[in-house]
Amino acid sequence: MPETTLSPTDGELIQRLQNADLDALGQLFERHRARVYRTALAIVRDPAVAEDILQDCFLKVYVNAKRIDPSRPLAPWLYRVTVNLSYTWLSRRKGHRAPFDDAIDQVISPMRHAPDRLAEQTETRQKVRRAIGDLSLDQRVVVVLYYLNGLGLQDIAEILDLPVGTVKSRLYYARENLRGTLGANTSWLSEGAHGYL
């Protein structure tokens, strides 16, 4: 009978990590790095800082491994740490603005030379991203967790340690603000979306 090699669960990896198994941390890092990095990037809007947060987040996993309950899912814990680290960094950096779109453009540079239609879509995305960046931090965090990570309101409430009503309220006002920033009528959105929806 052939042996089936199942990849270990997060809980099993945490248990191994609690016994100082660094390979287990490597597997957890490989499994969750994208969500941590992208969440941090969407909140702090600076690739270099997002990488620092990624490092800090997994250092916390390593140091606090014994305090992590292996029977509970790890992802919410990682989101919470990521958001907390992002809050910390942004609160220390109040008053400064990161050249987010420039940074993103550098990474996705081929888009600059895209055909007209694609370039138009890229421009629209930048407008939306800029509008998201202009949201208050509380609203931006909820928007990122809801739209980027596809988390439910209950999950977000648990991650942020807030009542569900507060999360709903933040999401509601975030969308209102985005609608306001992007224009009272979103006809340009319709034009931009033409052919893509």
Binding site: Y37, Q55, V107, R125, Y147
Partner: protein
């Protein structure tokens, strides 16, 4: 926004009913954020983390925890080039210092070869 949508929004916020629909706005928000999520995680991130842990083990013995260091602002970028005025001033200071060391001044080609350091050397 019509009255019905206001009522729907209010009902949603108090926990009743479905979220108010704005499919297009939702689509654009998701699209913009998802597009941003295409940014790859920097290569070598795991190696840097492993090294950081290894270094932390070393500094543990001295009672320090790298992890406890709070994130800090990146340093302000240092200008890599000088403006013409800054360059001229730097040259002037450099020439002056050279002259001080050697006991005589080098005439600067600007101002027809006349400059304060040259005059000073000429007087002395």
């Amino acid at each position: 926004m019509g009255i019905s949508s206001v009522v729907r929004s209010w009902l949603w916020r108090v926990g009743i009913g479905a979220p108010p629909q704005d499919t297009l706005l939702d689509w654009w928000i998701t699209d913009a954020l998802t597009d941003e999520a295409q940014v790859p995680v920097p290569p070598g991130a795991w190696n840097r983390l492993r090294m950081a842990i290894a270094e932390r083990k070393l500094v543990d013995g001295y009672g320090m925890w790298v992890l406890d260091q709070t994130p800090h602002d990146p340093p302000d970028s240092i200008p890599s080039t000088l403006s013409d005025a800054q360059l001229a001033r730097a040259l002037h200071v450099h020439n002056f210092c050279q002259a001080q060391r050697r006991g005589w001044a080098v005439g600067h080609p600007s101002l027809g070869g006349i400059c304060p350091t040259f005059i000073a050397a000429f007087i002395f």
